[in-house]
Symmetry: C2
Subunit: 157 residues, 2 copies
Amino acid sequence: MAGINRVAAKEKFLRFLEQKNLRMTSQRQVIIDTVFSTDQHFTAEQLLDWARKQDQSVSRATVYRTLPLLTESGLVHEMDFGKDYKYYDPNYADSPNHNHLICQDCDRIVEFESDKIDKLQDEISQSLGFSLKAQQLRLTASCDELKRLGACKNKAC
Amino acid sequence: MAGINRVAAKEKFLRFLEQKNLRMTSQRQVIIDTVFSTDQHFTAEQLLDWARKQDQSVSRATVYRTLPLLTESGLVHEMDFGKDYKYYDPNYADSPNHNHLICQDCDRIVEFESDKIDKLQDEISQSLGFSLKAQQLRLTASCDELKRLGACKNKAC
DNA sequence: AGCTTTTTGATACTGAGACGCAAAAATCGT
DNA sequence: ACGATTTTTGCGTCTCAGTATCAAAAAGCT
Ligand SMILES: [Mn+2]
Ligand SMILES: [Mn+2]
Ligand SMILES: [Zn+2]
Ligand SMILES: [Zn+2]
């Protein structure tokens, strides 16, 4: 699941800022460049580290202030993986309904999509009298199957 | 979805403690009594408040120390609802696969089970080469349907 | 009753994230 | 181009959930 490309992301963010009467700054440039140079899920502190490699003047506060903007604009998605800090997902603009399987043995995160699950979730919400707005599905699993087949490409396996 | 009854819960916890060479104490009694006098999802701080109404000597530290024991014994389940503190679910012993729909309008939490979803999750894990160990599905929805029908029994609606 | 092990409450500490503020940067009106 | 206005920034401080420490208390063992 490759993320949205950097140019398109910047474009979209620019439109978002404009529409909210906010300004594009060099710090925000660096941050968005950093975010869309990976398709990994990342934390605020990780993003700070990476961004500072490109421009040491970027401050923690600005990172923490920019992330909600990126979230609101739909470019990243706030995730919880059960840790006590938030993760951010840069692949959300491209596939807003994708879900995650996390391997409990090697910590690998596998993204997947399923129309069947999407449909089922909608049906369930309807049958309970609600209309579905958002959704988060997290599968915790073990890669024992892959290992048994010798098909596990992960270093930890 | 009514939770496991208090007597059964105590019984199960007692066996768990025994098997781990831990002791049943008056504080742990109070805490488990408190937990299984509700079927609401609760936070550690809420539990502390409630428990202290029954016995003011119960300390924050003991509550925070007991919750992992209850979790490990399978009597409660650690949940995240997207807030920056943990929630605990006392209905987990009774229905270990239930999921949650959270209304974004009135904060109500609706529990539901779905064999279809369970099956689908297993199939997806298998097809990716994994075996499913645990699962967390959170639907965010709006009760507008219920409101339109005048069938919403919630005070906030 | 003595001795050992576990548990407790009080207190200090940690780490993610929010907040307040004065300086700096961007934008606007002329 | 320039001063006024608005927004943004970096720094420092603060908050708050959860953890670690430790001496005292409770439980269990013989
Ligand atoms: Mn993802
Ligand atoms: Mn529940
Ligand atoms: Zn694995
Ligand atoms: Zn509602």
